[in-house]
């Protein structure tokens, strides 16, 4: 897990001086299958991205595997409504990305890193697989590279950065 990050092309970013500011749609602050750990003004996206994210969250709680009760996933920063730069991020301007918390074994709505004792690798892998199964998901940046389909990227010990196609 402590391997150096693999270089990867930067995600597309909207130019700050782009003539037409986009108008993204909001994620509902407390929707089915997820909870928010970011302020509502930082949770906007394209219609397709918000639709995909909300659909995946519903699937996440509907198809829980094992005996335990279902639990929501945590959604953090996405984009501002007008797509302006979101400090301290580098991306998060195109309305097509979302930060997701890895899964905790205790299911509490709290921060988590892949180095914590309560990090649930198996459930996080299931979460990654759910996202990867959606055709609108383009890439997932995350530093637990024992999980297939994620790309290692500095600063991603404590969240999955999911980038959508549309």
């Amino acid at each position: 897990m402590a391997r150096p990050p693999v270089p990867w092309p930067p995600l597309p970013r909207r130019r700050p001086d782009a003539p037409e500011a986009p108008h993204y749609v909001p994620l509902q602050n407390a929707g089915l299958g997820y909870y928010s750990y970011s302020s509502p003004d930082r949770q906007y996206g394209t219609e397709q991205t918000v639709h995909t994210l909300e659909s995946l969250a519903r699937l996440w709680v509907m198809f829980t595997i094992g005996d335990g009760p279902s639990y929501p996933l945590g959604i953090g920063d996405m984009s501002f409504a007008d797509g302006r730069h979101m400090d301290p991020h580098h991306a998060h301007t195109d309305g097509r990305c979302a930060d997701i918390r890895p899964v905790r074994t205790d299911r509490r709505h709290l921060p988590i890193t892949i180095f914590d004792a309560v990090y649930d690798r198996e459930e996080t892998e299931r979460l990654v697989n759910l996202f990867r199964s959606n055709p609108n998901v383009q890439a997932i940046l995350f530093n637990d590279t024992s999980i297939a389909g994620v790309r290692q990227w500095a600063g991603h010990d404590n969240h999955l950065h999911v980038h959508f196609k549309r």
Binding site: P16, G76, D157, N158
Partner: protein, 178 residues
């Protein structure tokens, strides 16, 4: 020709090296004992939510940040934890075994793209300590006032200069993610 030059240059270099070594020893000799008698520690902290406040926190109406958190790394990967306040407080603790009365300056620089920014002074005063006493110098750095889509620093370096002693540095790394 090259050899001739070298044959002249070698004794000259040797002599200069000896002279420089003597100057260096002379310059360091009075500082070494004094440096050992002064201890400088730098700590970074800021106001943040308490960890126990995070669970179930309504981010539409978050509570005020009133808990003092020590910061070893400014990591903004998760909005709630670890603490990454906009404003970083810097506490420089100076402890002296001997009486000390000298000017002190604390400054900071960001490292970005392999270069250090121009230093900005956050404390400039005179430190006046009795033997065995300590003094804490306070300063603040507006981190989020600097970070932007253009400025992506890797760390901020705080430098403490007391009199003509060698400066003491401390660094706070940044994890800015995507």
């Amino acid at each position: 020709m090259g050899r001739t030059r070298q044959s002249f240059a070698r004794p000259f270099q040797a002599m200069m090296g000896t002279l420089l070594a003597m100057v260096a020893v002379a310059a360091l000799a009075p500082l070494a004992p004094a440096a050992a008698q002064i201890k400088v520690e730098v700590a970074f902290s800021g106001l943040w939510w308490g960890y126990e406040q995070l669970e179930g926190m309504d981010m539409r109406n978050p509570p005020p940040m009133t808990t003092r958190a020590t910061i070893k790394e400014w990591d903004a990967g998760d909005n709630q934890w670890p603490p990454h306040p906009d404003m970083i407080d810097v506490d420089v603790t100076v402890a002296a075994e001997v009486a000390l009365k000298e000017p002190v300056e604390v400054s900071y620089q960001y490292e970005a793209k392999g270069r250090l920014t121009a230093p900005k002074t956050i404390v400039r005063s005179v430190i006046d300590l009795a033997p065995g006493a300590t003094q804490v110098l306070h300063g603040s750095i507006n981190v989020m006032g600097y970070i932007s889509h253009v400025n992506r620093p890797k760390f901020v370096r705080v430098t403490t200069r007391i009199g003509k002693r060698p400066p003491v540095t401390a660094e706070l790394p940044f994890v800015l993610g995507d």
